[in-house]
Symmetry: C2
Subunit: 440 residues, 2 copies
């Protein structure tokens, strides 16, 4: 494992911050209790079904390591270290065996970003993974302009073919011309709601389920489930759950244009900042606490602001209010989550970075650093228009080495993989709780 970590030094992010505070303690605790951690997770998966796939944005503050966003329709598989592709294939084999072992075909439904080459590279990578797991993969597009198979050339010489999605089998199932898949894999987060063509599908697996889409999903429901997971896990390990759990509050009826709900925002910002100040004092943390105000449904990095004082949410100018009021697909924001800000100590060279961990089934299959040179340690890095430079993890997340320092890459990645899997488990709970009655 050491050799793996050392082999390709260029891949190991240069961490300019030498961590010596509580996080090292936390990482050491994970390391020393690897068997307990893995067994605890294994037991949870006896009771809960992991989502087919997920990515988790983490923030490592030095004093705290917490998930800040969990994506159930992950893009960015193309950013993973290609050396770990076999891990993706193997995990997908495990997932497929549970869903439709007898299957040979899967239909992938991507986002409608046909001009985003990076996103299309992700779709291509997903197709490769599914194909190597032993499935015929074809891509069904929701775009009305795709009326016939449409080849798209990718920068690396690959080609994707988008085909018009259709209902088949007397309208009971989803498919393509001459293609009746066993399962439909969504890589589309349904921000704008469930398109008519995806409704009332029978006798076919749709994964993740439709209620994982951002038209119904709420970050606050995820982090409520995460709180339960963190409490139980922290109790198993004998740690303070705060070290892995970002606090949050919710305002359900905000209208940034009409300036309604501002009082709720201000009160909750204040409440959360006060709770944080108590904890910062307890742990001797000098930094100034901040919270992140963002839409409670999916954001794509839109509609996000950093707030250090309640007064800020009352003094928004027109531009700020416009920015906060819409997210992807022009949807209006009315439900808002106020989440504890977790600064990032991770640096790649001099630039602010945060780890993103990818999972298929219950397995960590890789990760990368989201790097943004134009943003500070207390800002959202998933910012459109900024230079975005993913840097793949150099080693896997499953090979901690107790002989190395807790913050050696292999050990740090293990800690990231543990917290990411806690968020994965929270997503599983969240989906169980959100499932329509007839499916429960």
């Amino acid at each position: 494992m050491i050799r793996t970590a050392m082999k390709d030094k260029t891949m190991v992010p240069h961490l300019t911050t030498a961590l010596t505070g509580p996080l090292l303690d936390l990482e050491r605790r994970f390391l020393e209790n690897e068997t307990t951690v893995e067994r605890w997770l294994r037991k949870q998966w006896l009771e809960h079904t992991p989502p087919f796939y997920a990515s988790v944005d983490l923030r490592n503050a030095g004093f705290k390591l917490a998930p800040v966003d969990t994506n159930l329709f992950p893009g960015g598989f193309n950013n993973l270290n290609a050396d770990f592709l076999p891990l993706c294939v193997q995990a997908t084999m495990v997932a497929i065996e549970k869903i439709c072992p007898d299957a040979k075909s899967v239909l992938l439904i991507p986002e409608n970003h046909t001009r985003n080459q990076f996103y299309l590279m992700n779709v291509a990578r997903l197709s490769v993974i599914l194909r190597h797991a032993g499935l015929n993969v074809r891509i069904g597009s929701l775009l009305p302009e795709i009326t016939a198979p449409t080849p798209i050339d990718l920068p690396d010489g690959q080609q994707l073919v988008l085909e018009p999605l259709q209902r088949i089998d007397n309208g009971r199932r989803l498919g393509l011309k001459d293609f009746d898949p066993c399962a439909v894999l969504l890589n589309n987060d349904l921000s704008a709601g469930v398109p008519e063509i995806l409704r009332n599908v029978h006798d076919q697996f749709v994964i993740p389920p439709l209620w994982a889409g951002w038209h119904v999903r709420r970050k606050s429901a995820h982090f409520a489930a995460y709180r339960d997971v963190a409490l139980s896990f922290a109790s198993e390990l004998g740690i303070d759950p705060w070290l892995i759990d970002p606090g949050f509050e919710v305002c359900g009826e905000v209208n940034f244009h009409e300036r309604t709900g501002e009082e709720c925002l201000a009160v909750n910002v204040d409440t959360l900042l006060n709770r944080m100040r108590v904890k910062y004092k307890e742990y001797g943390i000098e930094a100034e606490p901040f919270v992140i105000v963002k839409a409670d449904a999916g954001t794509y990095g839109m509609g996000i602001m950093t707030v250090k004082d309640a007064s800020e949410v009352k003094q928004l100018n027109r531009k700020q209010r416009n920015k906060m009021s819409v997210v992807k697909e022009g949807l209006q924001v009315t439900e808002v989550i106020i989440q504890e800000g977790v600064p990032t100590v991770e640096r790649v060279n001099e630039d602010t970075a945060e780890p993103v961990v990818y999972m298929i089934d219950r397995y960590v299959v890789g990760g990368f650093y989201r790097v943004n040179s134009a943003r500070g340690i207390d800002e959202n890095l998933n910012a459109p228009g900024m230079r975005f430079e993913p840097l793949a993890f150099s080693t896997g997340c499953s090979l901690p080495d107790a002989r190395l320092d807790p913050d050696a890459p292999a050990n740090r990645f293990y800690a990231y993989g543990v917290v990411a899997r806690l968020a994965l488990l929270a997503a599983s709970l969240e989906l169980e709780r959100a499932a329509p009655a007839e499916t429960a």
Copy 2:
């Protein structure tokens, strides 16, 4: 995938033989039918349980690709490419979930080779894999001289602790002092029979089962099961099963000292060579056919001879008869398998080489080349005293790339992984057939 294959050229064996005959066809067939291959295997594993682990020695003749030996107690995990350790860990997690998901402890019982540092490195590597999969691992020794925990230093600085195996829980279970494991993992092939201490274990998983040991296992039973697997798989793919299946015959009562059973050997050698000549003619193969005569139970590379004419088994001198008559632990050979010889075209630099593929649960987790500069292409390479230089596969076995030539490393390794998994499936059938009535 291309990048992975190209990254480290030193790891890619230099193949001096340019393959253009039927094997390229076979590899191309696997490539073109990857989905069919994977789905067929997936369906088999719905009906059959894979062994916990296995390694398979393959022979690639250019015109034929076949397993020649399947080890259900594999050593040599230390020879795998360390980059693929995460694959081993993930596959072990899958295996453990099926055996004892709630478990946190496993007892590993190794061979009694306490002075073989290479073997002990394998035990250490297995321990690392199991620990990262979330299990407390301790090592129970069958050696009578191990009466207290005995640390052993390894060349790479690691340390193993061998502890005296004991019966616990009123003799019902196997364990160590203060250690009551959920499962017992055998890395000991039981050539000398089942030691008293391993008999009549209750309420505890012993994996592989005791009847996988060489005290009862027969190569001929494995290759009979393999023949069934190869027939079914070849029919699915529309290929001649001979391309992947090594023929064999058996003589049940041979005594090399007393020169009984020689007639049976001669007749069967003749029969097999004649069958091979017909096939060689059909495929236009110029080489002279040969067969391998070896003990039908485990050999450890002992008691093996290459024969090109039936007369050779009748003219054995005393030295040759002595060599053939005993195998590991001084056991007498009475049952003999005559197996179709499959020459190897694989070369590492100028030296004769053969691939060995490792699997955990149903997943290929790596492999290496067994290289022997002192042996010819028609000889056993697992020869004690010879220079033995394993060379780890540079890429995984799960990422064939149809854009590359069929004999590109990634594609060749895929073909090797497919045939190795057929042998794994044969082992599964073999163990089902061999299971004592009360466990069936």
